[in-house]
C-alpha cells in the first residue's frame, strides 16, 4: 500500500498546511469534479515582481484531490507566475510520487486545473490545461 497511499498523501490530507481562504486576493477560482463531488477553491496574492506572494486552497473531496492541492500550493509560493503556468500533469505526479489510473488522475489534477484557470484568467477550467 505504501506506493499508493504514501504517508505524505495521508499526512497532507489529514493535516494540510495551506487550507484556507485569502482575503484580499488577486486571483480566485473554484471548480468541482461532478463525478465524485471533489471541490477546490484557490485564492492567491501576487507580489509586484510577478511571483506568488501567498496562496491557499479550500474544498473537500478524496485524499488525493486534497493532498494534491496542499502540495501544489506549497510548491508555488514564491514562484514566478510564468513558472506556475508551465506546471502540468507530470509536475503533480512527481509531487505525489505515485502512479494513478485515469479516474484518480482527475482527482489529482483538479487543483492544478483550478489554479491555471485562475492564473490565466479564464472563464472556465478545461481539461486541456493539465495535459
Amino acid at each position: 500500500m505504501d506506493d499508493l497511499y504514501r504517508e505524505v498523501i495521508i499526512e497532507h490530507y489529514k493535516n494540510p498546511s495551506y487550507r484556507g481562504h485569502l482575503d484580499p486576493h488577486d486571483i480566485q477560482f473554484a471548480d468541482n469534479n461532478p463525478l465524485c463531488g471533489d471541490h477546490i477553491e484557490i485564492t492567491l496574492q501576487t507580489a509586484a515582481d510577478g511571483t506568488v506572494k501567498d496562496a491557499r486552497f479550500d474544498g473537500h473531496g478524496c485524499a488525493i484531490s486534497q493532498a494534491s492541492a496542499d502540495l501544489l500550493i506549497e510548491s508555488i509560493i514564491g514562484k514566478p507566475l510564468d513558472e506556475v503556468k508551465s506546471l502540468n500533469k507530470q509536475s503533480i505526479l512527481d509531487m505525489l510520487g505515485i502512479e494513478l489510473g485515469p479516474v484518480r488522475l482527475k482527482c489529482a489534477l483538479l487543483s492544478l486545473k483550478v489554479l491555471k484557470a485562475g492564473v490565466y484568467g479564464l472563464g472556465e477550467a478545461s481539461d486541456e490545461l493539465v495535459e
Binding site: M1, Y5, I10, C36, G61
Partner: protein, 416 residues
C-alpha cells in the same frame, strides 16, 4: 445437493486471476458488469471459428448456421423471461439502448407537450436522460415517485401523482410510468407488478428497467404484465455489446421503426420503404451476432444453475454482508434491509472518500465501485456525492465478504 459457490467459481476463468503483488481477485462489482463463464466465452469462440457469416439473407451453409444460432438465442432469451413469443425480443446494444428505443419510437409517436411521464427518484441515468431529452425536445412533463429514508419507493407519492394528474389542467392522466425493477445503488426490489397494475388502471404504459432484476431474479414478463422491459447481457454472465427490449406485441407492431437500414425493411424503393415484421423491424444493419449467441449461452448457463438457487444464495450472502458491514465503526449503509433488496451494499465511510476506499481495497485485490453509480439524483437526495458499493453474484462467497470487511478495517486504520 446444496449450492456451492466454490464449484461455480471454477466456471469463471477470470476468478482464478491474481492482481497486484499476486493477490487473488475478489470481484465485488457485478452490478456494474458480471464476469463470464467459460461456456459463454467458448460459445462465441465456436461461432467465430466455425459458423461466422452475415445472417438472414444468406443461402450458404455458414449463413444458415449463423442465422439459426442467432434466432435460437432469441428463443432462449424469450423463454428465460417467459415472453409469449421470441418475436417480442428485440436485440439492442444494452439496456440503455432498449430504453432509448422506446423513447425514440413509442414515446415520440404517442407523447405530446404537457403529457406526464412518471419516473422515480432512484433511476439510473439510463432511465432518466432519455426522458430529460424528450422533455427538452417535446415539453413532456416529468414527475418522480419519491424515495423514503430507508430506500423504498413511497407508493403514496405514486398514488398522489396518478390521481393528481387525473384532474390535471394540461393533459390528464399519466401516459407512461418508467421505473427500475431493482435499484443498482440501494438494491431495493420494487413491487413491479403493483406499480404496473396501478399504472394500467390510470391508463399508462409501463417501461421496466430490468437491468438489475433479470440477472438476479426469476423473471416472468407475463406475470408482471410489463409493457416494455429492458435488460443487458453483460450483467447476466453474457457478453458486452448486446441487450434486449421486450415489448407487448401490439405495441411493437404499432410503433414506428427506430434505426433505418438493412434487415429492418421488407422493401425499399428510392422514394419509400416498407418496414419488416417483428422482431426485424427494430434491428437495422448487421447485428451483434456472436454476442447474441453468447447471450443465449449465458441464459443456458443461468438456467442450469437455477435462478431460484442464485437468488437464494445472493440473499444469504447479502444478509451476511450487511450484518458484518454494520459492525464497522463509521460505515453507513444505504437502502433497505436484506429481505427487501438484492445483492448490493452501498455505504459511506466517515472521513474517507469512496474513491480512497475503493483504491485502498484494490491493493488487496478487492474490486468494489465508488462514485454515484450513474444515479446522481439519488445521491443528491441523500446529500452525498458518492458511495462505495460492493455487490454480489452467484460466484461470490462469505469468505470474500470477510476479506472486504478486513480491508475496510485497514482503511479505518490508515485514515484513523
Amino acid at each position: 445437493m446444496s449450492y456451492n459457490p466454490h464449484e461455480i467459481r471454477k466456471d469463471f476463468p477470470i476468478l482464478q486471476r491474481k492482481t497486484h503483488d499476486n493477490v487473488p481477485l475478489v470481484y465485488l462489482d457485478s452490478t456494474a458488469t458480471s464476469q463470464k463463464p467459460l461456456a459463454v466465452i467458448e460459445a462465441m469462440n465456436e461461432y467465430y471459428r466455425r459458423s461466422n457469416a452475415n445472417i438472414h439473407r444468406g443461402v450458404h451453409t455458414l449463413a444458415e448456421e449463423a442465422t439459426a444460432m442467432y434466432e435460437e438465442a432469441r428463443e432462449k432469451i424469450a423463454g428465460f423471461i417467459n415472453a409469449p413469443s421470441s418475436k417480442q425480443i428485440i436485440y439492442t446494444r444494452n439496456a440503455t439502448e432498449s430504453i432509448n428505443l422506446v423513447a425514440y419510437t413509442w414515446a415520440r409517436a404517442n407523447l405530446k407537450t404537457g403529457d406526464l411521464v412518471v419516473l422515480t427518484e432512484m433511476e439510473h441515468h439510463s432511465n432518466l436522460v432519455p426522458w430529460l431529452m424528450l422533455q427538452a425536445e417535446r415539453g413532456i412533463e416529468l414527475e418522480f415517485i419519491s424515495v423514503t429514508e430507508d430506500g423504498l419507493l413511497d407508493l403514496d407519492s405514486y398514488k398522489t401523482l396518478l390521481s393528481r394528474t387525473l384532474r390535471h389542467a394540461q393533459g390528464g392522466a399519466p401516459k407512461l410510468v418508467a421505473f427500475t425493477h431493482m435499484s443498482n445503488v440501494l438494491g431495493t426490489i420494487n413491487p413491479a407488478a403493483e406499480i404496473i397494475r396501478m399504472a394500467h388502471e390510470a391508463g399508462a404504459i409501463t417501461v421496466v428497467d430490468a437491468a438489475q432484476s433479470v440477472p438476479h431474479l426469476k423473471m416472468d414478463v407475463q406475470a408482471l404484465n410489463a409493457d416494455f422491459l429492458a435488460f443487458s447481457a453483460h450483467k447476466m454472465c453474457g457478453p458486452t455489446g448486446v441487450g434486449a427490449l421486450y415489448g407487448k406485441a401490439e405495441l411493437l407492431e404499432s410503433m414506428p421503426p427506430f434505426l433505418g437500414g438493412g434487415d429492418m425493411i421488407k422493401e425499399v424503393k428510392l422514394r419509400s420503404f416498407r418496414p419488416n415484421t417483428l422482431p426485424h423491424k427494430f434491428e437495422a444493419g448487421t447485428p451483434a451476432i456472436a454476442e447474441a449467441v453468447g447471450f443465449g449461452a449465458a441464459v443456458d448457463y443461468l438456467t442450469k444453475v437455477g435462478m431460484d438457487n442464485i437468488a437464494a444464495h445472493e440473499h444469504e450472502i447479502t444478509e451476511y454482508a450487511l450484518e458484518r458491514l454494520e459492525e464497522i465503526p463509521g460505515v453507513k449503509l444505504f437502502g433497505p434491509s436484506a429481505d427487501k433488496k438484492g445483492g448490493v451494499a452501498a455505504f459511506t465511510f466517515e472521513g474517507v472518500h469512496p474513491h480512497d476506499v475503493a483504491q485502498i481495497l484494490d491493493r488487496d485485490g478487492i474490486a468494489i465501485r465508488a462514485g454515484h453509480h450513474c444515479a446522481q439524483p439519488l445521491h443528491e437526495k441523500f446529500g452525498i456525492p458518492a458511495t462505495s458499493r460492493a455487490s454480489f453474484y452467484l460466484y461470490n462467497t462469505k469468505e470474500e465478504v470477510d476479506l472486504l470487511v478486513n480491508g475496510l478495517y485497514k482503511v479505518r486504520e490508515l485514515f484513523g
